[in-house]
């Protein structure tokens, strides 16, 4: 009779090796996430500077005709920050504390930029069409996800469109004020030229409104 058995020592060695690999994977993953969070921080610092810079530019030029206003750098950076935040939210989860904080700050930046663009476009007669988009990710909202996709498309199809997305569940007074101002009770909701549209809107419907 010959029975071959894996010695206990080998079982233990394999177990510890696996545990070691798992810890290594965990640390590597955390390291990458740390790098990403740092990059997010640096992007939103840049965005903050851009918004302030544009505001300053607006203030300087407010006495003169608004010929030199350029929204592109700040809107592009804010858009990039938004994409990256969405990605981080997918990776780290919607309840991750750091992601939540970044999201709150991002929403404040959005509000600030929206106010600025709204005012600048009015006073300088610039053809800028800011859109407010209210969504929720508390529970799975398929229409919200789809609306986000359509708005991405609209942003590319109409260069004068600037989209500002707000998670209605975020506990910040800026969002509460916006919800109150436009009487937002359902998601997805859109505010285009001060009119509220509730429910999913496809590209054709946008075409008619814009």
């Amino acid at each position: 009779m010959e029975i071959r058995e894996i010695p206990r020592a080998k079982f233990m060695a394999a177990f510890f090796l696996t545990a070691f690999i798992f810890v290594l994977v965990l640390l590597t993953n955390n390291y990458f996430n740390e790098i990403r969070l740092n990059r997010l921080n640096s992007i939103y610092s840049d965005t903050k500077i851009d918004v302030m810079d544009a505001e300053m530019q607006y203030n300087i030029l407010s006495e003169s005709p608004c010929i030199a206003l350029n929204f592109e750098p700040m809107t592009d950076e804010l858009f990039e920050l938004g994409n990256k935040l969405t990605d981080m939210e997918d990776q780290l989860g919607k309840n991750n504390k750091e992601v939540l904080n970044l999201k709150k700050y991002y929403s404040i930046l959005e509000t600030r930029q929206w106010l600025f663009i709204k005012k600048a476009s009015k006073e300088c007669k610039i053809d800028a069409k800011p859109i407010l988009f209210f969504y929720s990710n508390e529970e799975y909202c398929r229409d919200c996800e789809q609306q986000g996709f359509v708005l991405n498309y609209i942003r590319k199809a109409y260069p004068q469109v600037y989209v500002y997305s707000f998670d209605t569940n975020l506990d910040i007074s800026a969002i509460r004020a916006l919800k109150l101002t436009y009487n937002i009770t359902d998601v997805p909701s859109l505010v285009i030229k001060d009119t509220v549209y509730t429910g999913l809107m496809d590209a054709d419907a946008f075409g008619k409104i814009l």
Partner: protein, 414 residues
């Protein structure tokens, strides 16, 4: 969803743990990989059972005739299992000297092997499927293992011959991985199958414990488990090469795998007493882990497949909402930030790394130099879903007691 993520982590942990056992076994035994040199060669009877193998049998027999083994110690028995084509006539062309041809009514491979065994005179019985052939040094390299009296069977190093289609290329990688697994399993004492293409057995085992189980879908799994159920050993010679033709079409491969897997389920049930520490590594590690791996694989592939189908559906809905003007949405800007890096992704990369290591070792120990890059990439993409589908269907067939056929014989067993 959270449950599946936990399941995926457990599966990853178990996968890495099992791989560690095999890799540690390799590290421990790397000097003992080659087959031991035989001090004495034993008389061997090579049995080739065939059912409708017209056009293929010639190469099989010629490879046996080319074996580097003393002719006086070699007996070749070709058994025609009631073929309806020209197989018998092709066999008859070889009937002379130490080659005998037997003909019987169709009864399945096991019955053909049993008949050949009954008429044989060798101390060692070697089976060789009629769609396979061997390297000239295969038999002589396997003989050294029989110097251990407890060794009742020796398995070869099986390779897919000339892989042409995508499915054959995937099987080529699978068999290459199998070379590593089988050798490590031999060290650990947990070989679960003595495959048809050139496994060698001590005849005395059959004489004492009976021949092949003729009512079994996979007689090669049954005999492997029976040998170990009686506390004997199965060895492996990674330098004894046998070549087989992998099914080239999906339907053929599907039927083959369903038979293998249902056969494995049936035999695991038949030898369920072996799920015990009493049977060493086979009982405590291999048999339970085989089912655990299959269960994880089916669940995870099912989950990810569901996610992929759902994403495709959502994608179509999204495209409809922008009138399929997707060109505007295309963006090729590369940013490191968007590279997915989660635990599962890193665990998957590690699994691929382990597979590459195992295949590298297998290629070294079996001195294989076939093209591997494309077959490997195809395997990475398709093997896991195929494996899950075959197993899932096998369980379905088993639950629904569906009839399977093997070489023209109907099977409706347990």
């Amino acid at each position: 969803m959270a449950l599946f993520i936990v399941l995926a982590y457990i599966a990853a942990f178990f996968g890495i743990f099992s791989s560690s056992i095999y890799l540690l076994t390799f590290y421990e035994n790397k000097e003992k990989i080659s087959s031991p040199v035989a001090k004495k060669l034993l008389k061997s009877s090579i049995i080739v059972p065939a059912f409708n193998e017209e056009g293929r049998i010639k190469r099989t027999v010629e490879s046996i005739l080319n074996l580097n083994y003393p002719k006086e110690l070699l007996e070749i028995i070709l058994v025609d299992d009631g073929s309806t084509d020209n197989t018998l006539n092709e066999m008859m062309n070889f009937a002379s000297g130490n080659i005998r041809v037997l003909h019987k009514k169709n009864g399945g491979k096991a019955s053909a092997l049993n008949l050949g065994m009954k008429k044989s005179s060798g101390e060692i019985i070697v089976s060789l499927d009629a769609d396979s052939f061997v390297d000239k040094d295969a038999l002589i390299r396997m003989m050294g293992h029989f110097e251990n009296e407890k060794c009742m069977a020796v398995t070869p190093s099986m390779k897919i011959w000339d892989p042409k289609t995508i499915l054959q290329k995937i099987q080529y990688v699978e068999f290459m991985f199998g070379i590593f697994l089988r050798k490590m399993s031999a060290f650990l004492g947990c070989i679960n199958v003595t495959p048809g293409p050139f496994s060698a057995y001590r005849k005395s085992f059959f004489q004492k414990y009976g021949g092949y189980d003729e009512d079994n879908l996979t007689e090669d799994i049954e005999i492997a488990l029976r040998i170990q159920a009686n506390n004997f050993v199965i060895e492996n010679s990674p330098d004894a090469y046998s070549y087989t033709l992998g099914p080239s079409r999906f339907r053929q491969l599907f039927k083959q795998r369903i038979r293998w897997y249902i056969g494995f389920i049936n035999n695991a049930w038949k030898y369920r007493k072996m799920f015990s520490r009493k049977y060493g590594t086979l009982g405590i590690f291999f048999l339970p882990s085989a089912f655990i791996v299959v269960a994880f694989n089916i669940l995870l592939i099912g989950y990810y497949l569901g996610k992929i189908i759902n994403s495709a559906y959502e994608g179509i809905i999204k495209l409809i909402s922008i009138n399929f003007d997707f060109v505007r949405m295309l963006s090729f800007k590369f940013d490191f930030f968007y590279l997915p890096s989660n635990m599962m992704m890193i665990a998957m990369i590690m699994s691929v790394a382990v597979t590459i290591t195992a295949i590298y070792i297998a290629r070294k120990i079996s001195k294989d130099n076939g093209k591997i890059v494309v077959p490997f990439l195809l395997s990475i993409l398709f093997y896991a879903p195929l494996f899950a589908m075959w197993w899932f269907t096998s369980f379905l067939y088993k639950i629904r007691r569906k009839t399977l056929k093997w070489n023209g014989v109907s099977w409706k067993k347990d």
